[in-house]
């Protein structure tokens, strides 16, 4: 029965004294631990291929046929396919980041997260990284199938810059999801409706199926608040020839906006989480699954 024992400390006070390095390592491991179920889920739930690739692909196809019927410029087909791929990330952010704490509460996980020694931001980061890895495979599948079926031609002159823009888009996008995770939990039962509210309007405002510039005056506001919209606009400029003319802002400017958004959303998520924890402990709800 010696297997019950694990820690070498001789008393509880000693066991509670952790070095900064140990605290840091604990949080890194918590990120990996929380990312694990999302990544491993890829191999456990093959139904995602149907629901998250084939079904969304029908919407992409509809826009492709509309553009073809209207004899729109050929890069518009690529815009739609790329938009369809990025949509997967937005869906992931809304349903598996923003609404996640709400589900975690119902399962009883949230109170275990609260009583464990890692910071809750590590749990959110793990959810984000796991979601990013999981969704990247889906997004790549959409791009691959779409490009093959519709004969999309890419003109990537700066692949590293494109990769950088992609990563820079994902940071504020998932940062927004981390921020929403706390807010959705505060709003309780409205979380489901909020998630739905954030879905279709964002498809429209994000310019998923058309160049962001087409929104006219609204596009400026959208660019200021929606990382999906700005990032997608920048990626389109870097992936298709002639797309610069359809771009809302120069890529460099959009990268700066994305960087600023990343800071704002991540710091916001940190504060929202602190407020959530304080409220949870003060009010006696939020973490307790039967209340």
């Amino acid at each position: 029965m010696s297997g019950y024992r694990a820690t070498p400390a001789t008393n509880a006070r000693e066991a509670a004294e952790w070095s900064t390095r140990r605290v840091f390592a604990n949080n890194l491991r918590a990120i990996v631990g929380r990312a694990y179920p999302r990544i491993i889920g890829l191999t456990r739930e093959p139904s995602w291929i149907f629901f998250e690739i084939l079904l969304p692909f029908l919407a992409v196809s509809a826009f492709v046929f509309v553009y073809r019927a209207l004899e729109a410029p050929e890069e518009y087909i690529g815009f739609v396919v790329l938009g369809g791929a990025v949509t997967a990330f937005w869906l992931n952010v809304v349903w598996m980041m923003a609404a996640q704490f709400y589900w975690e509460k119902d399962q009883g996980n949230l109170e275990l997260y609260f009583t464990a020694p890692m910071h809750l931001m590590s749990i959110l980061a793990g959810m984000a990284i796991g979601g990013l890895v999981m969704t990247s495979s889906r997004a790549l599948a959409v791009i691959g199938i779409g490009s093959l079926l519709f004969g999309v031609t890419y003109d990537v002159r700066e692949p590293f810059l494109l990769a950088a823009v992609f990563l820079l888009t994902m940071i504020p996008l998932y940062g927004l999801g981390m921020l929403f995770a706390s807010l959705f939990l505060l709003w309780g039962r409205e979380a489901f409706h909020l998630a739905q509210l954030l879905q279709e309007p964002i498809y429209f405002l994000g310019g998923v199926n058309f160049p962001l510039r087409a929104l006219g005056a609204v596009s400026g506001f959208v660019a200021a608040v929606l990382p999906l919209a700005v990032g997608l606009d920048a990626m389109r400029q870097l992936a298709f020839s002639g797309a610069e003319t359809n771009g809302l802002l120069p890529v460099g400017t959009e990268m700066l906006i994305l960087g600023a958004m990343a800071v704002v959303f991540l710091v916001g998520a940190r504060y929202a989480l602190a407020y959530l924890e304080h409220l949870a402990r003060r009010e006696g709800r939020l973490t307790l699954r039967w209340q």
């Binding site: 509670a16 390592a25 604990n26 918590a30 020694p117 890692m118 402990r281």
Partner: protein
């Protein structure tokens, strides 16, 4: 310098906002649990047991009063408390159903910062100890209720906690699974001296079997606190023995009743009769303390009767609860 309490609470109260009026879940609890102690909180639903655990595990703030776990304040030193505690609740559905038993435990081990390899080693040890070897690669969502609770118990052991909170851990389990869990808990405690367990339960037998000391709580108040033996003595100061003889002593019961230390000696029920059966009789003898029993047995033998059976009659914890509260366990509202 005296050893620091594993759990220390003074005037701990918690009031929930509610309509039409606030609900007092805890009404000023004083408690000291020593390191290495297995301490039970026994009370009906709504007694405040879960609220107390939530405060001690840093999930809730007290409305007033102070509480410390392992010497750390539950309000201001939450990070340190969380490094040395763990909690297992009855009916817990934590984790992710698509993970296997082994993966789920490993995931939780990462939340406690166990290095990857050590985490897997510890997970495998705990799987073996809790008897989940056959389910180690089975998805969590396919486990039975009993297996699931064993998994939760293993999760609670991952960080080898110094203070373990068990909140109704055997709730909803069948007899065998509940017994297994109780045995695991005792085995862990034997293997880990200095570890403290706070158990909430409304199963009397569980509290009696596991706990060194028990606090009987009701409506947010500690009504009585002591070892199971001390609590029983609260409702019964004298020792009562049931003695079965092959016949009555030659001079009846008067001599027995007059012996030093004997408070009373009266016929007791035997097989539905009033103390007299075909080939034996039963007596109920009340003693000031157990030491008077020897003289009773000797006196019986000297008067021509033979001892057939002897049993000490003790009140149960339920008797203690009824005596203290004036009602049984079954007629309460839901716990807060």
């Amino acid at each position: 310098m005296p050893a620091e309490s594993a759990i220390h609470a003074r005037g701990l109260s918690r009031v929930y906002k509610a309509k039409p009026q606030p609900v007092t879940a805890l009404g000023g609890v004083d408690l000291d649990v020593e390191p290495g102690e297995f301490f039970g909180l026994l009370g009906p639903n709504g007694a405040g047991k879960t609220t107390l655990i939530k405060i001690l595990t840093t999930l809730l703030l007290p409305t007033s009063g102070t509480a410390k776990v392992a010497g750390f304040d539950v309000v201001t030193e939450t990070a340190k408390i969380r490094r040395v505690i763990n909690m297992v609740s009855g009916g817990e559905q934590s984790g992710y159903g698509l993970l296997t038993t082994r993966e789920q435990l490993w995931m939780f081990s990462q939340f406690y910062g166990l290095p990857t390899r050590e985490g897997w080693r510890r997970v495998d040890e705990l799987i073996e100890i809790t008897g989940l070897t056959e389910q180690r690669d089975q998805k969590v969502r396919t486990l039975s209720t009993g297996q699931r609770q064993k998994l939760n118990f293993a999760r609670g052991m991952l960080n080898d906690p110094w203070v373990l909170f068990l909140d109704e851990p055997t709730l909803g389990l069948d007899v065998g699974a509940a017994r297994d869990l109780r045995e695991h808990t005792l085995a862990w405690r034997a293997a880990a001296p200095g570890r403290t367990v706070l158990l909430t339960t409304h199963y009397m037998v569980e509290a009696e079997q596991l706990c060194d000391r028990i606090a009987i709580v009701d409506r947010g108040m500690v009504l009585a606190l002591g070892t199971p033996e001390e609590l029983r003595r609260r409702v019964q100061a004298e020792s009562i023995f049931r003695i079965e003889l092959d016949r009555l002593p030659d001079d009846g019961l008067a001599t027995l009743a007059a012996l030093p230390g004997v408070l009373s000696a009266v016929p007791a029920d035997l097989d539905g009769s009033d103390g007299a059966g075909a080939d034996r009789v039963a007596l109920k003898v009340a003693l000031a303390d157990d030491s008077a029993l020897t003289s009773v047995v000797t006196a019986v033998a000297e008067r021509g009767a033979h001892l057939v059976g002897l049993a000490k009659s003790e009140p149960s914890l339920e008797d203690v609860f009824v005596e203290l509260v004036g009602r049984g366990f079954g007629d309460q509202g839901s716990d807060s």
